[in-house]
C-alpha cells in the first residue's frame, strides 16, 4: 500500500508569491491534517479536514487556506508568502477525525521563501 504522498518535495518561492501544496492520504483514510514545522521545533497544527469539511483550524493567519476533495486528497494554499513561512509542511492521514492512533505522516514539503 502506498503511504501518504506529498508534492512537491521541495519548493523555492519569492516573498509575496502564492504556493499550493498537495497531499494524497492512505487509501481508506478520510481525515487529513496539515502541520508546519520550523527547523528545530515541533510541528504546529494548521488545519484538519474530514469528509471534505474543515474540522479544525490552528492559530495561523487567513493567508493560509486548505480544502479536501471528493477523493480525500487535500491542498494547502498560502498567499502573500513571507520569509517566516519557510518550513517543512507535513500532511497527516488518519481514519477518523478524532483520534491520531492510526495517523501517518508524509515526507513533507520543504518550502523556502526568499
Amino acid at each position: 500500500d502506498a503511504g501518504v504522498t506529498q508534492s512537491p518535495t521541495h519548493l523555492i518561492k519569492t516573498r509575496g508569491q502564492h504556493v499550493t501544496l498537495r497531499c494524497s492520504p492512505i487509501s481508506g483514510h478520510k481525515s487529513v491534517s496539515w502541520y508546519q514545522q520550523v527547523l528545530g521545533q515541533g510541528p504546529q497544527f494548521i488545519f484538519q479536514y474530514y469528509e471534505k469539511e474543515e474540522r479544525g483550524r490552528g492559530n495561523f493567519p487567513d493567508r493560509f487556506s486548505a480544502r479536501q476533495f471528493p477523493n480525500y486528497s487535500s491542498e494547502l494554499n498560502v498567499n502573500a508568502l513571507l520569509l517566516g513561512d519557510s518550513a517543512l509542511y507535513l500532511c497527516a492521514s488518519s481514519l477518523s477525525a478524532q483520534s491520531y492512533t492510526e495517523a501517518f505522516f508524509g515526507q513533507g514539503t520543504r518550502l523556502t521563501v526568499v
Binding site: 491534517s33 510541528p43 497544527f45 479544525g56 490552528g58 491520531y100 508524509g106
Partner: protein, 112 residues
C-alpha cells in the same frame, strides 16, 4: 494553556548505553499521548500511543511509560540506527480541533 516540554534537547550516547527521554505535559484532560520518531528531512514516524497513567508499551529497544504529568521513552542498549529526533505530542480531551500539540523533540545521537 496546553503545552508539551521535552528534555533533554539533545542526548549523545555510546552504542549500548541505555537512557531515557522525558516528555512533560500540561493539558486540560488527556485524550492521548503520542511518541514519534523523525529522521532528518522526513515526516514523523509513529511509535506509540498511551492513554492513561500507568500504561506502558514496548517496541524493540524502546519502551514508553505514562504518568499523570509526564511520559518517558526508555531506550535499552541503543544502536546507531536509533539516532533520530524523538517527538512527543498530546491530544487534549477538550480540544474541538482534535489537534496534536507537540514538544520540540529530543535529538538522540548514538555513537558506535
Amino acid at each position: 494553556e496546553d503545552q508539551v516540554t521535552q528534555s533533554p534537547e539533545a542526548l549523545r550516547l555510546q552504542e549500548g548505553e541505555s537512557s531515557s527521554l522525558n516528555c512533560s505535559y500540561t493539558v486540560s484532560g488527556l485524550r492521548g499521548l503520542f511518541w514519534y520518531r523523525q529522521d532528518p528531512g522526513k515526516g514523523p514516524e509513529f511509535l506509540f500511543t498511551l492513554y492513561s497513567a500507568g500504561e506502558e508499551k514496548e517496541k524493540e529497544r524502546l519502551k514508553a511509560t505514562l504518568t499523570k504529568k509526564e511520559s518517558f521513552l526508555h531506550i535499552t542498549a541503543p544502536k546507531p540506527e536509533d539516532s533520530a529526533t524523538y517527538l512527543c505530542a498530546v491530544q487534549a480531551a477538550g480540544d474541538s480541533n482534535y489537534q496534536l500539540i507537540w514538544g520540540a523533540g529530543t535529538k538522540l545521537i548514538i555513537k558506535p
